[in-house]
Symmetry: D2
Subunit: 383 residues, 4 copies
């Protein structure tokens, strides 16, 4: 595994635990953790349960004693590491977004397709697909319980930068992060919307807004810089991203991703309405799915609050008795389970690099539309 | 009062009850009800408590024994009736939308401004402003409790035409209704968004969609037409309207209005996020306002569910003890109270015809944008 | 009508409006309002729409121009007025509780039974039965949708006397009010529990608690009394009442009524669990009923939030389109509708005085049990 | 660790993970797992990450290479194992209930007190105390945010035996399980109520009910028994337990624990009302705490939904960013953390065996009261 921050901790937990709860055909071994600082990576390897460590991902990729490379670094290094890992014959699990640009994503997808022929599996980490409530939502839609999908409404609401005194961290700089709320948050909503409906987004109209255009530099904010002239810098990503969309099957959608929804910490919400029913999910009620079946007798019809903790619900037979909730991190354990099974069986895991590329294309179309007075912009399907 | 369908019943109830609960400077008398069918209007006058009836609104307007004309007809007759009533020296309360076109609304506004000089009061019936929870929301924002408003998100979700067999009623025909979900539902959201923030919308990017483009004619659906060829007709209004918006003070907004949100009957929801706090309202929890104050200690911060039934809350001292809920119709009683007080005191009531015109301008801009590939479209401020 | 405080206003509203929304066989006329103070009753009659007024209920009862007497006074005068009205040949609607003692209630019930033979109708004002969501709940249970009822849990939570400085008003004095939270709040829960399940409560174990045993006298609290010695008095009713219960059909129940549930204004909640399903209601979501059907596929089972605003729901065809909420006061309008229909058709209206008596018996059993170390106490069925 | 069913899996997970997320003074090693069947325990040790296994807990207790014994067996073996482990000089973590009888619990508590003098730590597994929302609730009450506690209302609602065809498993047999919903579910509510308020329960009035008194024997239900005569057996524990209670500080409480609340899987709810505020928790919203502060301006007062995921909230700095939920199992990880810290520092961990004994005394008083016509029964404080 490369990288050991927030995502690294979540992924380590998943690799350690998956075989404790699921009966896997292969048992993962946590062999090498890779990070740039020797002291830090050694300590992290010890904390998270990795046997060895490296400070250069190139050495990691070259080792014979590993079969899988899990990439948890920021998006600007995904392409280079993933391509090297694939070239070295490894299976690759790559955190989202697949890359910072559509071009990188395209090259990675081509490499993954090529490697697939020699049995290498590749997967991108849109973990929300493996929240049981959302996996159940997909099953219900695939089973036709919603009929024809007409509409999607998705919100991803955070508020961690509402304070204008919050410093100009790397996530607010385009050269490092690619984009802001769009790539960080809306990427999840886009992948989920396409996954749940089974339809690609084919066109968008976007609006990107930087609400606080200038912020104190991190040094300035921590009091380490005395010079007034260098104390502030421009925010070069979006604070909020709004867009409307059309799906290939005819549905329409409305999306909002923002870091300025005061009071909301991580409210990822999505609702799908179809000719026969509706589904709604809110990440702050992670173990619940709301379902309306239009076929019900109107006298007793209503949105049902399904507590997705029954043993027949996706992934749940591995966990606790009905009514006992699981957390955010379990989605990563489920991701490991499915990836390991795909490696063992040779099935193609999803979301594939191609799925990641498709999200990247939608993000690019939103950016292009926003830069062109929100004019309708097709999502390119040949890069 | 002209018209006595759904809105007529609600308005009659309000005129009958306002002086029973509020100490009004003038006591309304329900003098004449007007409708086209003599038998029907006579029965309705009796049911709703009107002393007399007319079948021609021109005769109504000409009567000396009335001071106020309340217009509850469909939008295509608003302009003609309102202009005549103003010309006859009456005060005018006009249901929303003010008119079916911006041009009509402009003429009506000019007439109302003119009449105002001779003491005639005019008002448009955006009744949601007078739901106590929303009136409280406006107070909190006006008091600065949200700081600078950054974002608005508004949804108006209904589902009464999801069934493709639902007939082609007049609300689905552009020549009668003007537009569909846009004018009928989004009009409320737009007025509220502008009212709550105290800011006009200055530009939009819109998408209008007709999900079921053809429906059985009402005759056909009721089995009265045997001819296959004439049994169906084109839906000429939008089933769903999506748009993004910018406000004059810098806020951005995202709006959805739809008649295809399966399972939602009348879910009018609006949330406003600012630099110091957030507010959220859902019409299905009519007596509640959700409020997040960013100044709270993070240890115990959270959205508060304010039950808006305290005697200090807007309009509530007239009603029941704390914790006893009021209904949708009470907003009309509050509307009558405020209109009567404005007539007595000579204050200018709001929402004024100018407010109604401003909503019309936004609707027109959304329509124009949707017809031009969603390109950003300014809201005209000089018609 | 006798009495014109909170309940008087609600009842007047109901008498004025019932025939405006429901097609009644008889049209109510608001003839005489009765109260002790001439100035006040004259003003109230004007405000609430009564043609005439009296200051002595005996004169009211003796008048020939009235057919119905509606009793909205405190409980200690119910028996005397009701008996006189019945003796005078009037139909009687009496607010809850039917009386302050079981003995009074027994006499009233006998008189009502006697009067019934000459066609006089009597009814007690447990208005919650006519909240549409609760009327629907009764229908579902009567239709067998819950199977055998196993359990009832009921809470009635208020907080208006949490402050120890709140004065010793008459509701806190046993000689005036009979009891405290028990008679005022639990009476509603008991009637509802018996109505919904269709079963009488046959035994209880109770605990009554006076949390703040002494309070400032009203004079003292308003600063009019300077003498320290007479400034405070004993609270002689319960602040909170807890009890367990058994129903005649085998179900068990747990009840809480309190005026010390800080933060709750009027949270009347009741849940019924049966062998085939469950229902839950919360007065703060007045237009909703929560329903779980055990027959559903576990994969998508869950409590449904039924928005009780469909035209097929009890009483709702008279009101607004689906999704538009009604308020607390509408239950009184429905009460008038049903009472007027019973008068016209000769059917026996419910809740009858006998139903009111049964509630009184349960209250008495709780009081007796609480006074006897909570020992199990049968509800007497022959007084 | 002894035992490896549901609780064994949860505890193993906790022992494996605690040091991965918390900086512990000692690092747990998973040395020996003990179970009766050799094949099964060997497999379980492998699955859950234990180095070795035993089939006799006496051998386990005698081993020199272990310092801590974690008891996850059914309640009827707790006393014997715990006493032996304490005698062998081990620290002991024992699942709840501490024992099946008050007498056993008393002996265990005495042994734990004795062992404490030689530095051995003992703790009982009321894990809900370590759900962050409940730990925060305790902090707020201890900080005086609720003022004087007046009332507690607690519900523990399950529905797994509503079906009368569900077989007579050991949990429904008194000789094995001690009691039913009372000991299994209400034990949690009692411990929490005492923990949150900081007050012992001193008296109760109870009602126990066996709703389905006879069930198919497990063999019969699985078709293995052909003899009709032996196919059914008596349920000898309570299906539902209701009781009222008084606390030493003057508060009163109402408790319900049931396995017949159709539609509820594991709804453990508790609400505490005090003179200055209220708190409410529902296990189905595990990461939330509802808080009402009576000191707030009534204009904007209301229950706040605190999302207990801030780094300043109890235990949460170890986990994910704000807004990312944790699950039921994390309470066990927190339990291990606190137990390990207590071992390292020599502090007395809570809940102690004495806390477990106190719960047992309350359970016994409820049982005694229920057997004596619900008469008020003091909770013994000298066994």
């Amino acid at each position: 595994m490369v990288g050991y921050a927030f995502m690294g901790a979540a992924h380590s937990q998943a690799w350690r635990n998956a075989a404790r709860f699921f009966d896997l055909p292969l048992r993962p071994e946590l062999t090498v953790l890779c990070g740039r600082s020797e002291d830090a990576v050694r300590a992290a390897a010890d904390t998270h349960g990795w046997s060895d460590w490296e400070t250069d991902w190139r050495r990691l990729v070259a080792r014979d004693d590993i079969d899988v490379v899990d990439i948890c670094t920021p998006g600007d290094s995904h392409a280079e590491i993933a391509l090297a890992a694939l070239a070295a014959g490894k299976h690759v699990l790559c955190e989202k977004p697949l890359a910072n640009t559509t071009e990188e994503a395209r090259v990675m997808t081509a490499a993954a397709d090529e490697a697939s022929r020699s049995g290498q599996r590749s997967m991108v980490g849109f973990n929300y697909r493996r929240v049981p409530a959302l996996a159940l939502a997909r099953q219900l839609i695939a089973d036709g319980r919603l009929g024809t999908v007409h509409q999607v409404r998705a919100q991803y609401l955070q508020d961690w930068i509402v304070d204008p005194a919050f410093p100009l961290v790397w996530r607010l700089q385009a050269e490092r992060a690619g984009s802001g709320a769009l790539g960080d948050l809306a990427a999840h909503s886009i992948d989920l919307a396409q996954y749940l409906t089974g339809q690609h987004i084919v066109g968008v109209s976007g609006l990107l807004e930087t609400i606080v255009p200038e912020r104190p530099l991190p040094e300035a904010s921590s009091g380490l810089s005395a010079s007034g002239g260098t104390g502030r810098g421009a925010v070069t990503v979006d604070d909020a991203a709004l867009f409307t969309a059309r799906f290939e099957g005819g549905a329409i959608g409305v999306f909002e991703a923002t870091r300025f929804a005061t009071g909301h910490k991580n409210a990822m919400r999505i609702e799908v309405s179809g000719s026969q029913g509706s589904l709604a999910f809110d990440c702050e009620s992670l173990n619940e799915l709301s379902f309306h079946d239009r076929g019900e007798d109107p006298q007793t019809a209503g949105f049902r609050r399904i507590l997705v903790t029954e043993p027949t619900h996706p992934y749940m037979s591995a966990w606790w008795p009905p009514g006992h909730l699981i957390g955010y991190e379990h989605s990563f354990t489920h991701q490991v389970k499915d990836f390991v099974e795909a490696i063992a069986t040779g099935a193609e895991p999803r979301p594939s690099f191609a799925d990641g590329l498709q999200v990247q294309r939608v993000l690019a179309a939103v950016t292009d539309s926003a830069a062109a007075d929100s004019v309708w912009t097709a999502v390119s399907d040949c890069d």
